[in-house]
Point group: none
Chain length 200, copies 2
């Protein structure tokens, strides 16, 4: 027969503000043994079902570096055969669908909006995925970020052939002189605001 003793409980409670948790801890030793201490803490949202994404690409792919065992056991890059960058997995962004960034208190950041000039491309790609795709390209890529080069219909009919994994999931964008002028204006405005803020 199992002798079950509940020693610790932690749960959200209707009387408490949203996401606050009540924790009951029994004292296990000492002259106050058996008494209960209550702790209240704001919990971090965690569905449990949200498993963080893991690398799914098989290791049969060429690796970005070639390992030479020298006397000092260091790793040397194989410059001779060109940049052997590991091929990007197509549509890797979909592995992050359903996940949301949050601050340290568990509050999710508000969704960002896709600028009107940007047209998403690809089968069943939603706005959040496209934004992730663009943001990653801007942060990580060493090439100009210009978008896909094919037509929308071609790209969605046969993405395995026509999608360029080095470009984000958007149709090609061309910056007009007008776009450049407006961006320059925005930068100038931001600089003025910063200058004023620094004066105070």
């Amino acid at each position: 027969m199992a002798n079950i003793t509940i020693e610790k409980t932690k749960y959200e409670c209707a009387q408490l503000p949203k996401r606050w948790q009540r924790e009951e801890v029994f004292r296990k030793t000492g002259i106050t043994v058996g008494k209960v201490d209550l702790y209240y803490s704001r919990g971090v949202r965690n569905d449990g079902s949200l498993v963080p994404p893991i690398r799914q690409t098989a290791s049969i792919f060429k690796q970005p570096v070639t390992v030479y065992r020298t006397q000092e056991s260091k790793v040397k890059t194989d410059y001779k055969n060109g940049n052997q960058e590991k091929p990007k997995q197509l549509m890797w962004e979909k592995r992050l669908e359903g996940l949301l960034a949050c601050d340290t208190d568990g509050y999710e950041f508000e969704a960002m909006e896709l600028p009107k000039g940007i047209k998403s491309v690809g089968p069943n790609v939603n706005d959040a995925t496209v934004i992730r795709s663009v943001a990653t390209a801007l942060h990580v890529s060493s090439h100009p970020v210009t978008g896909q080069t094919g037509t929308k219909s071609l790209l969605e009919k046969n993405p395995g052939v026509f999608l360029d994994p080095k470009q984000p999931l958007i149709l090609g964008v061309n910056a007009s002189d007008d776009d450049i002028r407006r961006q320059e204006e925005r930068v100038a405005l931001a600089r003025r605001k910063l200058q004023e803020a620094l004066k105070q």
Copy 2:
């Protein structure tokens, strides 16, 4: 004007057992900054006047090894010219007079007694010095430890001539058959005791 803040104190305290020390350490950072941690430790006896002995022999003496600077900067022994052992300083034991061995808590070990058969030799040599001399010879010497070979009067009249620096400061000892038998008995007894102790 100096702003003096005492951050650390260490002192013996009347309420504490002899030689125990109380140490107060202020926490300097973190959310518990300013709080005090107390440490108690048994102090080590230290007269300050007891300066440990340092090597006093001049470097004009031949050295036990000859240094060759090889590529690996290692030291090679000069076997070719025989064992160039550095001459021992006569009466080096006297440099340790007044010093006592102690355990890690500072408690001095009890004095050892010189066996009755052992006769010390040398000018102004006390028992503690003789014991050190014998113990060092037994631990360090690669030769049989038999004591000095001259007579007591000769040795003390002109130690610079007659003292053998490779032998301890005792008159020659001869182990009789009786001595050997008694030592064998002691060893046998010690082994029996060990065997009994291991049984339990």
